[in-house]
Amino acid sequence: MNKYLADQLFLVVCLVVSVLLYVSTDTYPGIAQKTSAVYVRFLAISFGSLAGVQIFFNWFDRSSPDKIRLADHVPKFVGLLVALILFAIAFEPFGFFISALIFMPAVALLLGSRNYQWIAITSIGAVAFVYVVFVQLIGVNLPGSGF
């Protein structure tokens, strides 16, 4: 998708959201009708108007035919996103330390590092640092702190 189309699509979504928000304020109860609802309407009108003006400006300035590229190396980008989500899923059942000790080497390998010694040193070092500083010294509660 090119940038122009992506931008227009985003702005149309903004416009729809602003209308829905404005309409939703009718359901605000009691005192909120004269306070919070007015605030939300103010934001909805501002948001919608700004999005509308930007759509109008974009329409006259369609000079960005270049495609929207989130990443130069898509497999690495998607791989990191998936790894992050898996890390978050594993966070509570397996605890931070076990999950991190799998996550960090896996991402390092994904990003092309083949220096296994340094991967091990940084992963274990980071986990040890978290344990000593955050768990022992600062007292941050982490899932699976006691392994």
Binding site: A32, F47, L50, Q54, V130
Partner: protein
Amino acid sequence: MMIEYLAIVFTIPAVLTIVIGAFAGVLIGGMPGLTATMAVGLLVPFTYSMDPTLGLMLLGGIYCGAMYGGSIPAILLNTPGTPAAVATAIEGYPMSRRGDGAIALKTSVYASFFGGTFSVVILLMFAPILARQALNFGPPEHFLLALMGLAGIISIADANTSLMKALITGVLGMLIAIIGTDDMSGSLRYTAGSIHLVDGVDFMPALIGLFSMIQMLEIASQRGYEKVDTSALNAPSKRVKLPKGLGKFMALGSGTGTVIGILPGEGATIAAFLSYNFAKQVSKAKALFGKGNPEGVAAAEAGNNGCVGGSLVPTITLGIPGNSVAAALMGAFIIHGMIPGPELFTIYADRTYPFILSLFIANITFLFIGLSVAPYLARIALIPPALMVPVVCAFAVLGSYALNQSVFDVYLMIGFAFFGLILKKLNYSLEALILGLILGPIAEAGFSQGMIIGKGSPTIFFASDIAKVMWLIIFLLLLPPLINYFRNHRKKNG
């Protein structure tokens, strides 16, 4: 009173915390891709369980250290550790190439110290006065203050992030902030039935996602990594004298950086470049600029460090972050229950003043670090991204989780990173988004209470003299980018 505050600063745990913070800041600032905002944003949740004063001192130390740290690889490797050090690299690296790296490093550390210290003196002098003025503010003025903060960051909208797009993301941030419980009626709004959203969208996962994770996603998805020229690293380090006549440029940079820092939304990068340009204009050796002029290094470094104290003036007195690092620091104040404003200098004076005083020690710490081990620290910039990215990602996940101990916040952080990256690619301002998120609740509370006081009439927001002045400031903040916007638009079309 000041003696009591100094006594708090000069305890062993406090000094140790500041030194660790400043040292960590120098290391983080020295790593390309890692910024002060990212470091402070990542560590704010961890300070939650610390003593509030020590937590703030740690973050203050990181802020000061990171601002200086970026200059080391900029000078020795032509790889600015932070965007604010780009101006330093323009003069510092050519100096290193011709064998004057030691002079450039010494100039940089003295200028950083000078700029940082000057700005903290200004912070100490003017913040309490400004905070006293804030006592006259009522709910309508607080609403306008939030708008002013947003107008401030929007006013720096550049060629990449247009005024209109910065405004859109600013309002979007304010809209995200309305999710959760409505303070006026106690009813739930836009939570989609999720119990995780009852208290609203916390800005910490958003901050970490938008400022830390996006950078990691971008670094990770690069096709190849640029080879860094390390030849200047091997130059023999020798004891050198500081060139004469640099004091003028350090003073120029310090003043410029502090003033730029005070203006809401104006960051250290702008401060460094403006100081550098001023130095270029007043220098007698204009021809040397771009070829390795220590005057440029002195002005740029004093400028970006001058921003530190300056940016904290509106942050802790009015609750308007001077820049994105100050926004992250403001988060630290808020999570410790210290709402920026006059209360910081009355009820919480025993925390605020020691925090400000600790910034002096942080400056002294990086001065020692810079004078003793700077050339060795430059090697940090050579850490391969493939090793750095997973560690920072793990900390980002940990930081998002730690504050509310909620995995939902981790998902939020990832979501903000992905969504933020799309917005960034479409040239929307992420700074405005995060500022809208932070200022949203302040704006809503001020607006709702103002409407009650004004018996439903919006004229209350124009009634007082302070309000009128604030509207004028908002208008003045928006005017230059508005003019630029239409000028560029006309140029494009004609």
